[in-house]
């Protein structure tokens, strides 16, 4: 069975929520989610928080994630801090943050040392070249998955904004801050204008 198959979505959602986790439990849970997360931790975070530990309902999780997604920075790191603070205040934030980042940073640093020492070996170079081709393919598939709702909704404005940002950053290689300082106010302005027109 593929490990990504949807886990028992048919079962009636049980409203029972477990007791608030302690600091050690927060650290351990985020470390475990992070270490199982190849190619992104979100799936494992949802599984751990909602299904396994029942610390949040699915709706609460979606709301929390939406907040962390529209704020800048690594989404899942933001989520760990918001989640930890909700249960245990600032110490909870630090525990979840440290659990999410600590163990994988150690692993990736070991890989960096190995790469520094053996990166010139021909066989390793070939393997890494193959892995990076595949990794790029994975990223492109995520982009297409995210695009589908825009296309299904026939969101013309969204598609134009998306294409403009893609061109500015990917093709013209303009600096990110400059592009966003123009694109964010413009996109928010257009969104508000469109909503007014729809409700008028």
């Amino acid at each position: 069975m593929p490990p990504d198959s949807p886990p028992v979505a048919i079962a009636a959602p049980e409203p029972s929520i477990s007791a608030a986790p302690g600091l050690l439990a927060l650290f351990a849970a985020f470390a475990r989610m992070s270490l199982s997360g190849f190619g992104g931790v979100l799936v494992f975070a949802r599984r751990g928080i909602v299904e396994q530990h029942r610390w949040m309902t699915a709706e609460e999780f979606n709301e929390t994630f939406a907040l962390c997604h529209f704020l800048p920075g690594p989404n899942i790191v933001n989520l760990s801090v918001v989640f930890g603070s909700r249960f245990r205040g600032v110490p909870g934030s630090i525990a979840a943050f440290a659990g999410l980042l600590g163990p994988p940073v150690v692993i990736v640093t070991i890989l960096a040392v190995l790469y520094g020492r053996y990166g010139e070996i021909d066989a390793l170079r070939r393997v890494l070249a193959g892995v990076s081709c595949a990794a790029v393919g994975l990223l492109i598939s995520v982009v297409f998955r995210m695009m589908m709702p825009l296309i299904r909704k026939r969101d013309v404005v969204g598609v134009v904004v998306m294409a403009a940002v893609f061109t500015a950053i990917g093709v013209l290689r303009l600096p990110l801050p400059a592009v966003l300082l123009v694109a964010i106010p413009l996109s928010i302005g257009i969104t508000i204008a469109m909503r007014r027109r729809v409700s008028a």
Partner: protein, 178 residues
């Protein structure tokens, strides 16, 4: 040596600033990382950048770990830690403060509007990441073919991404990528 010239300080200021503009997460900031690390600061070559991205995807944990690897290449273990914290702490503090503010007024319509406005933007950024990385990684037509095949497989199936990465590594080892 002047503090402003120390590489650790450059890493902290670079990634601290970048994190505040990383709308859509770390993967959306890849073109900016490439622009600064390869084109502006010359910390890495194009090939090394592609390798670093591959290693970050091969290791478990959040996508932001590519920053640890860039920092390590610049200034060793301390550089890796400095870059990681610079990329994560400012926005984590921001997220903490905003979530505290929003728990009271969660029925405001502003979050919904901002979200609707930012989603297409972050998809555009991630698409740009895909293009920049494809241009650095896919040097041969067979490499482009592997990328395209993985993109289609990952889009159409629910295969664990790790298997696709390992398959790519095997094809590379076999000399298919060229």
């Amino acid at each position: 040596m002047n503090l402003n010239q120390s590489p650790i300080w450059t890493l902290i200021s670079t990634f601290g600033l970048m994190s505040l503009f990383a709308v859509g997460g770390a993967n959306a900031a890849i073109p900016e990382m490439h622009r600064i690390a390869v084109d502006v600061q010359h910390w890495l070559t194009d090939k090394q950048f592609a390798d670093v991205y591959a290693i970050s995807q091969l290791s478990p944990g959040p996508n932001v770990l590519i920053v640890t690897l860039i920092g390590y290449a610049v200034a060793g273990v301390a550089g890796g830690l400095a870059a990681t914290l610079a990329m994560c702490v400012p926005t984590a503090l921001l997220a903490y403060c905003v979530s505290r503010l929003l728990t009271r007024s969660s029925h405001s319509r502003w979050p919904a509007i901002i979200q609707a406005a930012l989603v297409p933007l972050s998809i555009g950024l991630m698409g740009a990441s895909g293009l920049v990385l494809a241009l650095t990684s896919d040097r041969t037509w067979t490499a482009g073919l592997v990328t395209a095949a993985v993109a289609v497989l990952a889009f159409a199936t629910r295969l664990n991404p790790l298997w696709l990465l390992l398959a790519g590594g095997l094809l590379g080892f076999a000399g298919f990528i060229g």
